[in-house]
């Protein structure tokens, strides 16, 4: 992972102070190729620089991170990692369903954020404990039979992985705990992310509807 050249990152957040803080935290571990403070700026900067990863704030002037995702879907190869202070489920689920490959809170430490950026750049998913909790809630086992079981239900193994994430385990620790490889853990999480983005489960549609992004 770390042999590859520095990840090219665009930072989107409406608070200059926060951007400065994140840059300081990341230090030289990634290359910041652009910054933006609102939706229009973000779309322009991302189109111009096509970074590996966009660190995207959920709340932005001009329609929020979701609007950035909506305008850029399919047109740039960049991957998105949502970064927010919000704990609200509809924010978290909304931005992930909008196309972000992960969600972390702004309290994340520098090394953890670097690791998350690497993971997203490699096409894997990044789940914070809280996001794992939301997914467990949304895919609760005791529920009505679903239309598309492949998409609307998560497997027992995926549930185990999510529980461990919610318990604060890192991917490496999860792998050790479940006697599987880190790569397998990543596969499970990516699979959950896909279901989260594509499933029409009742709870998810409700969240999506709350953000008007069905």
């Amino acid at each position: 992972m770390s042999e590859s050249p520095l990840r090219r990152v665009v930072l989107v957040d409406d608070h200059q102070m926060f951007r400065t803080g994140v840059k300081a935290e990341l230090g030289g571990s990634v290359e910041i190729v652009g910054e933006a403070g609102d939706v229009d700026e973000a779309v322009a900067v991302i189109r111009a620089t096509t970074p590996d990863v966009v660190l995207l704030d959920v709340h932005l002037p001009g329609g929020g991170g979701i609007e950035v995702l909506r305008r850029l879907t399919g047109s740039v190869p960049s991957r998105f990692l949502a970064l927010s202070v919000s704990d609200a489920a509809e924010d978290v689920i909304g931005v992930v369903r909008g196309g972000a490959r992960g969600y972390v809170t702004k309290t994340i430490s520098g090394p953890e954020l670097t690791a998350a950026i690497d993971r997203v750049a490699d096409g894997d998913a990044v789940f914070s404990p809280r996001l794992a909790g939301f997914v467990l809630d949304a895919f609760a086992a005791s529920d009505v039979p679903s239309v598309d079981p492949e998409l609307d239900q998560i497997t027992q193994r995926e549930r185990d992985v999510l529980r461990l994430i919610a318990r604060g385990y890192a991917y490496k620790e999860i792998a050790k705990e479940l006697f599987i490889s880190v790569k397998t853990v990543e596969t499970h999480v990516s699979s959950v992310l896909r279901k989260l983005q594509l499933s029409n489960r009742h709870e998810l549609s409700r969240w999506a509807a709350a953000r008007r992004l069905v």
Binding site: S86, D87, A88, T107, P129, R130, A132, G133, L136, D137, A140, A141, S142, R163, A166, R167, G168, Y169
Partner: protein, 415 residues
């Protein structure tokens, strides 16, 4: 009685020095204010109220009204005036209980009273020269309507009639009476040929009035709506301002004052952040709280007390009972231990309710310890956590090793 007297005198004595209120109260104690009585009334409580106010027998008052009615018809007019102008007594708190007790004997007496009023009215009309038989249906109808209204007024209307429907009902009744009255008058006084033109004229006038008045009423209504909206908004703004002032500004002041004390500043900021988050994102907590809210509260307390950061993830929820309370308390103890001994500042808590199974994990990535080396008398782990869980039919498992961090797993079945 004596004690009451002393109290009364004492009160009015001190009150005289203070102002005007107590003499008034003393006066009211002697003579009740003129109000339409709710208890012991036959029609609208006017006679009973007057009797209470004047301090004479209610029978005398009623007799006076009847006499006045028979003599000149003015009794009915006076009664009506009192009915409209005098407010009725506020409903007592225990009204539902008091109601049925004195009800059975009242219905026929009330009928009697209404009949008396009807008699008075007919007497009045007789005296005025309206002797036609055609008038009688209206009198009967009006009295019937009054009785109906009177019944609906008292009986269960709070329970089964919505305020809106009641108002609607009242409006329709009023309309019927007015239209009936006018119609009756027209039919009686105008011959058929004229009646048509009169009705048309009335319709034209009504339409004209409607055309003139409607825009004005609509505008008034809209203004009212706008004003109400504005009021709600300003109330919200005031609430927000009050909240910000009480919490955020207060904390910022404290932070400035404690700028040299990093730990205290962190604690203040974290505690404020939690409060603000709860206020912004979480629905209003239910009375007494649920499992999820209590777990978060407890973690918040430990954060404040110990200056650590606790990441709480809760999946599912359930109401609180003794068992659920026990597991939360055990989890609190585990959090305190993690904060005290782990050597790290970060603790993860994951709580899950799945059916009847309640599970809580408290984990830190700290230095861990050798579980076998913990002396038997160390209360924290053995008593507060493992013992508490076992007493409530649950289990507690501690997984730790030096350098490996610690994870406490608590499980309980709610059944």
């Amino acid at each position: 009685m004596t004690i009451g007297d002393v109290g009364e005198r004492d009160e009015s004595g001190s009150g005289a020095a203070l102002g005007t209120e107590p003499p008034e109260r003393a006066g009211r104690a002697e003579r009740p204010r003129l109000e339409r009585a709710r208890k012991g009334r036959l029609v609208a409580g006017v006679c009973r109220g007057l009797a209470d106010h004047l301090g004479i027998d209610v029978l005398l008052v009623r007799a006076a009204f009847v006499l006045l009615t028979v003599a000149s018809g003015i009794g009915v007019a006076a009664y009506g005036a009192f009915w409209v102008l005098v407010a009725s007594t506020p409903p007592p708190d225990a009204a539902p209980n008091a109601g049925p007790a004195d009800k059975p004997g009242r219905d026929w007496r009330q009928l009697l009273a209404y009949t008396a009023v009807a008699g008075g009215l007919s007497m009045l009309t007789w005296g005025a020269g309206f002797t036609e038989v055609a008038l009688w249906p209206f009198v009967a109808g009006a009295i019937g309507g009054a009785i109906l209204w009177q019944q609906a007024d008292r009986d269960q209307r709070q329970r089964w009639v919505l305020p809106l429907r009641q108002r609607w009902w009242r409006t329709v009744l009023g309309l019927l009476l007015v239209v009936g009255g006018i119609g009756g008058f027209v039919v009686r006084n105008v011959d058929a040929a004229q009646a048509r033109s009169v009705v048309i004229a009335m319709l034209v006038i009504a339409t004209g009035v409607a055309v003139i008045v409607t825009p004005w009423v609509v505008r008034l209504w809209q203004d009212l709506e706008a004003e109400r909206y504005e009021r709600v908004r300003s109330q919200e703004r005031a609430e927000l301002a009050a909240h910000i002032h009480d919490s955020v500004l207060h904390t910022l002041t404290l932070i400035q004052r404690n700028a040299h004390d990093t730990a205290e500043v962190q604690r203040l900021a974290r505690s404020q952040e939690r409060t603000l988050r709860a206020w912004l994102y979480q629905p209003k907590p239910e009375e007494g709280g649920t499992f999820a809210s209590v777990v978060k509260d407890v973690a918040g307390e430990v954060e404040d007390e110990r200056g650590v950061q606790i990441e709480v993830v809760v999946v599912g929820d359930c109401p609180l009972d003794d068992k659920v309370g026990a597991i939360v308390q055990a989890a609190r103890e585990a959090m305190v231990n993690a904060a005290k001994y782990s050597g790290t500042k970060e603790v993860s808590v994951f709580a899950e309710v799945e059916g009847d199974e309640v599970t809580i994990f408290v984990r830190d990535r700290g230095k861990g310890f050798d579980l076998d080396a913990v002396p038997e008398d160390r209360m924290g782990v053995r008593g507060s956590i493992i013992g508490r869980m076992e007493r409530n039919g649950g289990t507690a498992t501690v997984r730790t090793a030096p350098g490996e961090g610690t994870e406490v797993r608590l499980e309980i079945n709610r059944q």
